[in-house]
């Protein structure tokens, strides 16, 4: 057991931290948010140059061969800086699905282009009635001659507005909530039959509602056997979101402690009040517990035991959701009015943390999933 970073990991961390420190200040971020789709092409090129866009891919595919730990390092730094670029959508979700489900040829074609920053992907999966149920897919894929066509409605597609390629889940067979029979398909975003309604989200990331009407599609892997890949990639993505949340919480906690030490009222720093000290201690405890669970999810995210992996990831998502809500609410409360203004970073961290809870299942959803699976300490010691 070793919590130390390897030399390579330390290098990775240092370079990502330096990049966001230099190029992703709060004011700079405001400018990036105003660009089309709400993110910076220039930063995207920077990530490519640093190798971040190919981080989890094999070296053959222009990647870095990194695992969940490397992703954690990057996502934590991204969380502190509130990065807006489509990293999760393209690298973790899109790239992850190509890795997990695509043919060798598809991988060889697409992954290098992701790593090079030449393509932006989005995962069009969630449907309105599904809420957080990954297997609830009504969108249908049918074969028309040799070609596949997809019809259905996808929602809250992360960066679905600026992606050039959509990875779309669609049902090839089975009932609406069956895990079996779900296929993954590649659909060019500009293809006929694809209608996108893009929007900014609460956290300034972007999303889209996407209608598909007989849209032409290429199967990613074997049609109808996509669910295992979806489950695996979503679990990994959740672990990455946990790391992002830890970064955001750490930044928010540090800002709060700093504010308490510098903000004066009644002639002294408000941090002199024991009540506020203890409350920031409770925030710290919540943060450290969250950090521990993000590490746990990271270790387990690469597990091939789908049940064990899912339980660990659910547990982490619950902890992150609870800690983030607590840390976020307390941070705003301890800041007072200033924490509620758009001009100050704390409120933005709070909003992103709030929205991470809503991504791929909130704390209640994952608590139910974990409890139904028998909890964490089920086996004999």
């Amino acid at each position: 057991m070793d919590f130390d970073l390897t030399d390579e990991q330390r290098l990775l961390r240092d370079s990502v931290e330096r990049l966001v420190a230099d190029r992703y200040g709060f004011e700079q971020r405001r400018k990036y948010a105003a660009e089309p789709g709400g993110w910076s092409r220039e930063m995207w090129a920077q990530y490519a140059e640093l190798g971040l866009l190919g981080l989890p891919f094999a070296e053959d595919h222009g990647g870095f061969g990194g695992g969940a730990a490397e992703t954690m390092i990057v996502m934590e730094a991204f969380g502190r800086a509130l990065i807006l670029e489509p990293y999760v959508a393209t690298v973790l979700l899109g790239g992850g699905l190509v890795q997990a489900a695509g043919s060798a040829a598809q991988q060889a074609e697409i992954l290098p282009r992701i790593a090079g920053g030449e393509t932006v992907l989005a995962f069009a999966h969630t449907e309105r009635q599904a809420r957080y149920d990954l297997a609830d897919v009504a969108t249908a894929a049918r074969q028309d001659g040799g070609a596949w066509r997809i019809t259905g409605e996808k929602g809250v597609v992360l960066h679905g507005d600026t992606a050039d390629t959509l990875v779309v889940s669609a049902r090839v067979s089975g009932g609406r909530r069956d895990a079996a029979g779900i296929g993954l398909f590649l659909v060019p975003a500009e293809a006929s039959g694809v209608t996108r309604r893009g929007y900014p989200a609460q956290d300034l990331l972007h999303g889209a509602e996407i209608s598909l009407h007989d849209a032409p599609a290429t199967p990613l892997g074997t049609p109808g056997e996509g669910f295992a890949a979806i489950a695996r990639v979503v679990d990994r993505t959740i672990a990455a979101l946990c790391a992002e949340a830890v970064g955001a919480m750490a930044e928010l906690h540090a800002m709060t402690v700093d504010y308490l030490k510098t903000r004066k009222q009644f002639g002294r720093p408000i941090g002199d009040f024991q009540v506020l000290q203890h409350r920031s201690v409770d925030m710290f405890t919540a943060l450290e517990q969250a950090r521990s669970m993000a590490m746990y999810a990271t270790v387990m995210a690469d597990s091939d035991d789908a049940d064990e992996r899912a339980r660990a990831v659910s547990a982490a998502k619950v902890q992150i959701g609870r800690s983030a809500r607590f840390v976020g609410q307390e941070a705003i409360q301890l800041h007072g009015g200033i924490g509620m203004t758009m001009e100050y970073k704390a409120g933005h961290l709070f909003k992103r943390l709030t929205m991470i809870d809503k991504a791929y299942g909130d704390a209640d959803h994952h608590l139910a999933r974990l409890a139904a699976a028998g909890g964490l300490f089920s086996e004999a010691a």
Binding site: T126, R128, Q129, A130, R131, Y132, D133, D136, G155, V156, R177, R197, Y199, P200, A201, Q202, D203, G207, E209, R263, K264, Q265, F266, V275, L276, Q329, I332, Q333, G336, G337, G339, M340, T341, M342, E343, G347, H348, F350, K351, T354, M355, K358, A359, D362, D364, A368
Partner: protein, 399 residues
């Protein structure tokens, strides 16, 4: 001990309910129910309907339009108004500057300001908070220097709610720079159209524009706009802040919101099951309902005590109302956001009403997260919940 309302009280309640639900436009009340922001016109319309009925300023002196109601009547009026999603008469007018002018103002000031105040002919805003003052209000630095029959005002106010609509501002200013803290402060009424006043919006994290900074640069204010005596402004501010503490729990608002949340949860499905049938969600709802019922009873106990209370001296138990009332309001916004699920994420709030695009996701979802973000304020403003705990510790528990 009889916790039931009397026949007369019930009749009064029904009268309130009838009036609010028939005389105030339904579309306007529906906007309130949904958590939409109201336009200035909508506030004005509502308050004038209430004022025409004599119900805009029931707690004012009868001579100036008050109703001489019992505490229970005042409670019922508020509760029914809130439950019917009627926007309350503008607090800055009817609960803040109005009572101060009525109590401490000159006859000329009363005649000039009070009727317009009640009818929302003048929209007032509050110039108390300053950058750096926070809960330590008395540390304010805005100055007013007497020159002849004028005051020259310089300084900055902040968190000024709806200053963008305001015709007048009631301002705490430092008139004696040598005096310490609470002393040397005066209470000044200032026309917002006076040259030298600049209003700068503060955008809040929900994307809304409720609060502002207000800058005063050599603003000339006629000396006749001083309320009461010079350097006694702190007393008037305390009087103002001590008024009207039971409405602060906003029990009626929360009741309306919970009922709406239940309707939404009966509609919104996960898989094929309405969320209201999800045991965990239902129990979380029931938990808030219990807290709210308890708070309603606590509020009624405070109301009952008001008969014996010294006028203008706030019941420290009202700090409980503030703490629990804000927690419950926040919790309801949290549950509403949880109900919206993944659709809490898109930011598709429609500020200019003109759009006819269909909503993204469930129709309530666009307001769910903004309202959650916005409602963090209710445990901060009006004396933060930490300040309320200090009050209870000192005034009730005797620490």
């Amino acid at each position: 001990m009889d916790l039931n309302f009397t026949e007369e009280e019930l009749a009064f309640r029904d009268e309130c309910r009838r009036f609010f639900t028939t005389e105030i436009p339904a579309a306007l009340r529906e906007k309130v129910a949904q958590g939409d922001h109201l336009s200035k016109d909508e506030y004005v319309t509502t308050q004038r309907i209430l004022n025409a009925r004599g119900w805009a300023v029931p707690h004012w002196p009868v001579a100036w339009g008050g109703q001489d109601w019992t505490p229970v009547q005042t409670y019922l009026y508020q509760d029914e108004m809130q439950q019917a999603n009627v926007p309350a008469p503008l607090a800055f007018n009817v609960s803040m500057v109005g009572p101060v002018i009525a109590q401490f103002g000159s006859e000329a000031q009363k005649k000039r300001f009070l009727p317009r105040c009640a009818n929302l002919d003048d929209w007032w805003c509050q110039g108390f908070s300053e950058p750096g003052s926070g809960s330590d209000l008395a540390s304010l630095r805005t100055t007013a220097k007497r020159v002849g029959d004028k005051y020259i005002v310089n300084g900055q106010k902040t968190w000024t709610t709806l200053a963008q609509h305001a015709d007048w501002i009631f301002n705490l200013v430092r008139t004696d720079p040598t005096a310490k803290k609470q002393e040397g402060i005066s209470f000044l009424l200032i026309d917002m159209k006076t040259p030298g006043i600049k209003v700068r919006p503060i955008q809040t994290i929900d994307g809304g524009h409720e609060v502002n900074e207000v800058f005063f640069d050599d603003v000339e204010v006629p000396a006749e706009n001083l309320v009461g005596e010079e350097n006694k402004g702190w007393d008037y501010a305390k009087f103002l802040l001590g008024n009207e503490r039971t409405g602060i729990a906003r029990v009626g608002v929360s009741k309306a919101r919970i009922r709406r949340l239940k309707q939404l949860a009966a509609r919104e499905v996960a898989g094929d099951v309405p969320l209201i049938e999800d045991r965990r969600f239902r129990e979380k709802l029931a938990e808030v309902e219990i807290e709210l019922k308890a708070l309603e009873m606590t509020q009624l106990r405070v109301v009952a005590d008001e008969r014996r209370a010294v006028k203008g001296k706030p019941n420290p138990a009202s700090s409980i109302l503030k703490i629990k009332g804000s927690e419950i309001q926040q919790r309801i916004t949290e549950l509403t956001m949880d109900l919206a699920g993944p659709y809490a994420w898109p930011y598709t709030r429609d500020e200019d009403e003109g759009s006819n695009e269909p909503p993204v996701g469930p129709d309530f979802a666009a307001e769910a997260a903004p309202m959650y973000f916005n409602y963090r304020k209710v445990s901060i403003y009006g004396g933060s919940n930490e300040i309320q705990r200090n009050i209870i510790a000192k005034a009730i528990l005797g620490f």
